[in-house]
Symmetry: C2
Subunit: 329 residues, 2 copies
């Protein structure tokens, strides 16, 4: 079994985005009407087709990241949009329970305490069977105005995560800062930023079982692994393995063989979870390989690792990090 832990519902029916556009403009968009057939259609030609073509089995599925847009509107608007988005994910997973496993977004807003997100998290996990969440470290959308993830500001949501035994993927949304291209800069920067926040804090002393997945291959972190080992050492911090690798994991959304090979060379295999982010940031075919850039299964298959390690990356680690997901092998 191959489980892709990072997929977003980027292909949702247009009526969803129309609804959101109205809502964000301060209008009352009324009830969103999307039929089961419309959902099927939106998935059959996209995520399900790619699963079949690439030979992957399950996708951990969450609302589109770029449209979480926590910086838009009031906390009430964020909550309404979040519940709607999570409910739609729930319907996708109910229609295709073998193919999709639900991951929620949270109703965050800039300057609003993360504890306000706990009830939606509980609803998703306890009532709808979600197994993880996306946590936005910068609800301001590129202005980075809230405290770092290691600040006590965030502790209530961590207490809930620990109690519910669900991990968070650290995932920003779109950028309203013209300096940061969303998928080319803001996403990657946020990954790097979060890792360095964890490195400089004692967060995992306070929460020994708290777990984060840093997406997009961990931003710049594996490429600069020597820098991070050295920075920790200069600061008299414990070695990274001891300091945070029981709590911090990386996905494989790195879109070329050389990048994946580097990650496998420096990051312990126990900390790497298979993912592609399809249908996502990069949709084209790489002329150098003749395959889709985001067909990351190929890179893992071609990497010089043992079958046992490949199995950990494809499913074993996901079972450990997301214990609420626990199907037969």
């Amino acid at each position: 079994m191959i489980v892709d832990i990072h997929g977003h519902y980027t292909t949702a029916p247009q009526s969803l985005w129309d609804w959101r556009k109205q809502q964000a403009a301060g209008k009352k968009p009324g009830e969103l009407k999307i039929t089961d057939d419309q959902i099927r259609e939106s998935l059959e030609g996209a995520q399900l087709k790619l699963q079949r073509e690439r030979g992957t089995d399950v996708t951990f599925f969450s609302p589109r990241a770029s449209t979480m847009e926590h910086h838009v509107g009031t906390p009430e608007i964020s909550l309404e949009w979040t519940r709607l988005s999570n409910d739609l994910i729930h319907r996708c997973c109910a229609l295709y329970p073998k193919n999709f496993v639900p991951i929620c977004q949270l109703p965050q807003s800039p300057g609003v305490e993360p504890k306000q997100s706990i009830s939606e998290l509980r609803r998703c996990v306890n009532e709808l069977g979600f197994v993880g969440l996306n946590l936005n470290p910068d609800p301001s959308g590129g202005n980075w105005k809230d405290p770092p993830l290691t600040d006590r500001w965030w502790y209530p949501i961590y207490e809930a995560m620990v109690e519910l035994d669900v991990p968070a993927m650290v995932h920003v949304s779109s950028s309203c800062n013209p300096n940061f291209h969303a998928t080319g800069a803001h996403y990657i920067n946020a990954d790097t930023t979060a890792f360095m926040q964890f490195l400089t804090s004692d967060l995992f002393k306070d929460f020994p079982t708290l777990r984060f997945v840093i997406p997009h291959g961990g931003g710049a972190v594996p490429y600069h692994w020597g820098r991070y080992r050295g920075l920790a050492q200069d600061m008299k911090r414990p070695p990274l393995k001891e300091l945070l690798l029981k709590n911090v994991f990386f996905d494989t959304c790195v879109y070329h063989q050389a990048g994946i090979d580097l990650m496998l060379r420096v990051i312990p295999v126990e900390n790497i979870l298979f993912a592609s982010e399809m249908v996502g940031a990069v949709r084209g075919i790489d002329p150098e390989s003749g395959h889709h850039y985001d067909d990351t299964r190929r890179y893992i298959e071609f990497a010089a690792i043992s079958p046992a390690d490949r199995r950990k990356i494809f499913q074993g680690n996901a079972r450990r990090v997301y214990p609420r997901w626990n199907p037969a092998p």
Copy 2:
């Protein structure tokens, strides 16, 4: 000959930092008194010792990046501090003309047009023999309030760079945003951010001979080279080689063998310039190798490349990118 294109005067005498502290506090610190012997002492046991030990010959030498602090005080304060800092670099290079080549900082300030920096750039290049500059893409120090590097806001300084035929290293200073650790997040994020700005713009159509060095191995860029090739392709931009590799270069400040090997695998050798940033961000000895993390010469020596390519990285490319530096081979 081995030229290290990225070194900062991090070891300057304490009186410099005391002077700056007073100036930043709004006091009148009076004349800075540093003797030639104090300069010699500050370099002999540090950069010069490391050059000898590591077998490198020349360092392109600029003021400490973290203390450029363009976000501190008025434009007048920034100008006074910048001139003082550049003059001190000039003295270092005059004392050790074989070992150091001067690179200037600019008197930038948040919200102040970059054209205000041109006269100091001209002074450094025309009067003091500087061969390049450090350009801060975020003078606000982690709040990213000025326009992207590709905005016309920056064009006057680019016109001067083209006229003077000097390249800029894109280099931020310290971060006053608690989300961003300076050397572990802000530096690397800025590198990634600048590259993506270049990728999405036609800057190099407007300035075909403008040249930037992206330090710290290009931030996250080589690790995500497939992502960047794919993003450019999805946006119908030209291939990266054509779009920006005549104008954008990467240094080798990547502190482990695996990272350097990745860079050499995906980035054309003509775009890679040797650098270590010593004495800089990471000062310790890597227990895995028994050598300093920032002894980057070793990684280049051990990499599987030809002697001709190694020579390009060690000096050939620097001669092309920094044509004002042109000593006998």
